[in-house]
Symmetry: C2
Subunit: 200 residues, 2 copies
């Protein structure tokens, strides 16, 4: 069976649980406590030299890191990945947007505030992250004002990828009330078949 | 003809020039001076709401941002993208690694030192970036010790993607002499057919 090495409250790990559940692919969850630096042990680094979760073990000794690469792998030839070549590239566009322009601000703020629970210690860094996270939300809002999902008219891995940290952005100090199209989209994602919560 | 909106010394823009040249696909270069905030004008934001270069115009009004999404689009069904499903996912893995664990440290340091030419102003931030950039180089060195290229035995868009900022890492204050496998790989990339320099 597939093994998912994960830190359960991580949005990057949740992305994979959500897609595999929606695809009805069984997997075993193996917790890695990043707060105890369990992703930096010699044993874990032999599995993923970059020392991060999630990490998927496809078969004994065959590993795939990077949440969005795992989404890509399992979505191929399923309804979660478009068939049109340009739409495929647009899925990539939004997934790279997520890792470069969204996750480093919204996920990192959530980590400091709600996982480490040290908002005072990271006060200055959080202030720097705020405008950049809101800028990413603004780009998303503009797209979702005119489209039900990020690419084409269908729910794809681009949505799964961006949903993971956006729907818990409040845990990073971001207020979504000014983003009505994002809020509507969050509801549409939650209505997808086999949806599971991040806390599931 | 394809139009590439770019800031010429940007490694992210160079990635696209390198692949399109190697594929012998003609394109027009349209300079966007990011130092003059030309990527943040209303006109540019109407093309790419995220306000970044590179941006590719495939046909009038049809735009694709995100350097690695553009690499993905043009590499499909060419030798620059593997046919094996797992190797395809490994290409994704390295491209997401590049945008999350490499570019924010090595490219950003290069930008402050060699493009803005303000190393003193960014001294403290540069010191924070150094260990994280070297960590990314360490992960690359480990992979390249045992493999000629990042995925399989062939030169792919994973190599183009990581080459862009790695081969000019010295311009960001990174010393590659401790990374012999990376230096050998840089030479292998430079020997690929239709190779062009970042300054070309």
């Amino acid at each position: 069976m597939l093994k998912l090495y994960e830190y359960p409250s991580s949005g990057n790990c949740y992305k994979i649980r959500l897609l595999l559940t929606q695809l009805e692919i069984p997997f075993e969850r193996i917790p890695v406590d990043i707060l105890k630096r369990e992703s930096r042990t010699a044993k874990f680094l032999s599995k993923n030299p970059n020392g991060r979760v999630p990490l998927l073990e496809l078969e004994p000794g065959k590993y795939l890191p990077e949440s969005n690469a795992v989404l890509y792998y399992f979505s191929q030839e399923t309804p979660f990945f478009p068939t049109d070549k340009f739409e495929q590239a647009q899925v990539m566009q939004w997934m790279f947007f997520e890792q470069y322009s969204h996750e480093p601000y919204i996920a990192t703020s959530r980590y400091w505030i709600s996982i480490l629970r040290k908002p005072e210690e990271y006060k200055q860094a959080l202030e720097q992250k705020q405008p950049l996270g809101y800028a990413a939300l603004g780009v998303m809002e503009q797209q979702l004002k005119e489209h039900p999902f990020f690419v084409g008219n269908n729910y794809t891995i681009a949505d799964i990828c961006l949903f993971a940290y956006t729907h818990v952005a409040d845990e990073g100090g971001f207020d979504l009330t000014g983003f009505p199209a994002i809020l509507d989209w969050i509801n549409r994602v939650k209505q997808q078949p086999n949806y599971i919560q991040i806390t599931a």
